[in-house]
């Protein structure tokens, strides 16, 4: 704690929000029960310095993360099954899948390269889909489980996410370079589109997830017992009618 910042744990202080764009700290004007309603209040608070929207938690974070994870997981199948690249010559036509390309590199003796491509094209996308699914699930069902480790996992996928675009660039470079008419031609295959979509979707999912959810405490059972309050309101409404 020597280095730079002292934590603030004064329970009486109203919650504060940091601006993601300029870093200014503002009091949470919408703090309290109203802003925690599932549908929100329809009110938004903006940073007084730069005008960026401030929110305690990204809106609809878990739903948007799930949408991206599910879409990415579905597209991951054609990305691996369909060829990402086709080699066409007058004599033959070869199709290369993601895994096939890695195997060719391995057989050619480029072990180091095949490991790099394996990490970028197989390990990173699978890691991202798995970690995002885990984070989205635990943020609703196991909120206190291994919080620090989950926070670090999130920062990991945030940092390595864009490296899975590597194979997309390799294929478009090979396709643009190997253009020798009837002798040899390389074309991007349909699997490449699915794979590029997986990369973009997992990145969108990463940005949709709000890591602050990791630190939220489980909702106390008291919130469920809001029924008497509702009944009271209803009674009141009945009386005034």
């Amino acid at each position: 704690m020597n280095a730079g910042a002292v934590p603030l744990d004064d329970p009486d202080r109203p919650p504060v929000l940091g601006c993601e764009s300029c870093g200014l700290t503002s009091a949470n004007a919408l703090a309290g029960a109203a802003s925690e309603r599932p549908g929100g209040t329809g009110l938004i608070q903006r940073c007084p310095r730069c005008g960026h929207v401030l929110h305690a938690r990204k809106p609809m974070s878990v739903q948007r993360t799930w949408a991206c994870v599910v879409a990415a997981a579905v597209l991951y199948v054609p990305a691996n099954v369909l060829p990402i690249m086709m080699t066409v010559s007058a004599l033959q036509r070869d199709e290369h899948t993601l895994i096939g390309g890695i195997r060719e590199l391995w057989i050619d003796g480029s072990w180091g390269l095949s490991v790099i491509v394996f990490i970028a094209s197989i390990a990173v996308p699978v890691l991202k889909i798995g970690v995002l699914g885990l984070l989205a699930w635990t943020s609703q069902h196991a909120q206190t489980w291994r919080r620090l480790e989950r926070a670090k996992l999130y920062r990991l996928i945030e940092a390595v996410g864009h490296w899975s675009m590597l194979d997309v660039y390799v294929v478009i470079l090979l396709a643009a370079t190997i253009r020798f008419g009837p002798l040899a031609n390389v074309q991007a295959g349909p699997g490449l589109l699915a794979f590029a979509a997986v990369v973009v979707l997992t990145m969108l999912g990463t940005y949709a997830f709000d890591p602050k959810l990791i630190w939220d405490d489980p909702k106390p059972a008291v919130r469920r017992a809001a029924v008497p309050n509702d009944a009271g309101d209803a009674g009141h409404a009945g009386r005034s009618a």
């Binding site: 704690m1 280095a3 730079g4 910042a5 002292v6 934590p7 603030l8 202080r13 504060v16 929000l17 940091g18 993601e20 764009s21 300029c22 870093g23 200014l24 700290t25 310095r49 730069c50 005008g51 305690a56 590199l105 050619d108 480029s110 390269l113 491509v117 620090l148 926070a151 670090k152 999130y154 920062r155 864009h162 490296w163 675009m165 590597l166 997309v168 660039y169 390799v170 478009i172 470079l173 090979l174 396709a175 643009a176 370079t177 190997i178 020798f180 002798l183 040899a184 074309q187 991007a188 490449l192 589109l193 590029a196 979509a197 990145m203 940005y207 890591p211 602050k212 990791i214 630190w215």
Partner: protein
Amino acid sequence: MSREQDSLVVCEQCGMAHRWRPLARASIARCVRCEAVLGRGHRLPLTTILSLTITATVIFLFAISSDVLSLDMRGVAKATTLPGAIATTWDDGQEIVAVVAAITALVAPALFLALRLYVLVPLAIGTVPRGFALCVRLLHQAGRWNMVEVFTIGVLLSLVRLSSLADAVPGPGLFALGAVMLLFAKIESAGLKHLWWHV
């Protein structure tokens, strides 16, 4: 210029509030709860970031206009540039892949540099440009989607795979991309929030 002592800093990753204490050079402040970086004890001066950005812009323009690699196959030579590779992908009917590649390897890095120049030049001479807040927000997005370093490694990988087929030669654009990649990392390490301390 730096953050004021005792000002409140909220951890971007977990939302915990901290009081800021001035840092020694080369030290890093981390969130006590989630260990994310809150701030660093060193800052590149504005003029240094500006000169790095100007350098990167010149080299980037060179990198996208010259060949990144060329191939010689039985006397027929074929060279490829970054925009050329994207255009070929589009012509082959892979329009969406071409757009994704164009955004991540061309548009995002171009915005990364152009918006920084637009913001840093006025700040360096003591004025604030129009639309400053919007530019900083766009810079945040440009940084997220900029993958010029991944593209550079992609060129290297392609070279190795091509060399088994024919004489593959790295082009001047590849060396320029390598330099751009290093400059981007240095510029990005300065972050964006400090820009507001000069306003």
